[in-house]
Amino acid sequence: MMNPPALEENQAEGNILVWLTGFAFLAAMIGIFIYVPTERTEGVIQRIMYFHVPSAWLSFFAFFVVFICSILFLWKKDREWDIYAHASAGIGVVFCSLVLITGPIWARPIWGAWWVWDARLTSTLILWLIYVAYLMLRAQSSAGSMRARYAAVLGIVGFLNIPFIHFSVLWWRTFHPQPKVISNEGIGKGMDPSMLATLGVSLCAFTLLYFLLMGERVRQEKLKDEIDRLKREKLYSS
């Protein structure tokens, strides 16, 4: 059980993180709506990018964390890693959904249709389905080592699928703008420095948000564990 001083310390750390995240988001908002110039060809709608791309990055990062934690769980068999994998998958799915919502909103005025079967949009959708299935698997099975092992296997299998999805959907068809931030000429050559800076701030804000949410979700799972433990203790003692 957590002793009070440690709890307080955690709280303080959490508060710093909350402030940092809030500040980063404020900076990102200022950057997006005041500082950055409007894109010439796409107009004001292009500002969606500063949410769309960081959300995509965040969900991808979250799924990568699921992958790593799944491997570590199968290796060490420590409940801690299972908690991290679960928490990260949940956050990943939330931000993947945001990508899937902002994507069509951006696509509608630019491509003229809500949904085009474009490579990256399609792979995001498949990724979303994989991790929703992951969360369903977790919801279906009762807590315990079986659920953790199965989820870990699926976490590994699902992440290894990403390169296959990427290439298969890419060869299938694509309309997406070629990646501008990391292009063949080097990082950030295709973009105005002010846009790059804004995107960077926005990425930072979202990454901080990830850690904030992670802390919250992990705490939640631990609380659940604690309650389960107490209940079981009570059940067997009486």
């Binding site: 004001v44 709608i45 969606i48 959300s55 705490r219 609380l223 659940k224």
Partner: protein
């Protein structure tokens, strides 16, 4: 400038999504904490 509505909608969805998620997380945490407190209280009363 006529695409302002789309930009606004996308922003609203992002913020709405994030805030709703944080809100439900907080809510669940509070419920869990309450549950834990209750459990501890009943345990200490009986023990």
């Amino acid at each position: 400038m006529d695409n302002l509505g789309f930009l606004f909608a996308a922003n609203a969805f992002v913020w709405g999504g994030i805030i709703y998620y944080v809100y439900t997380l907080r809510l669940r945490n509070r419920a869990l904490e309450k549950d834990l407190d209750l459990l501890k209280k009943t345990l200490s009363k009986e023990g």
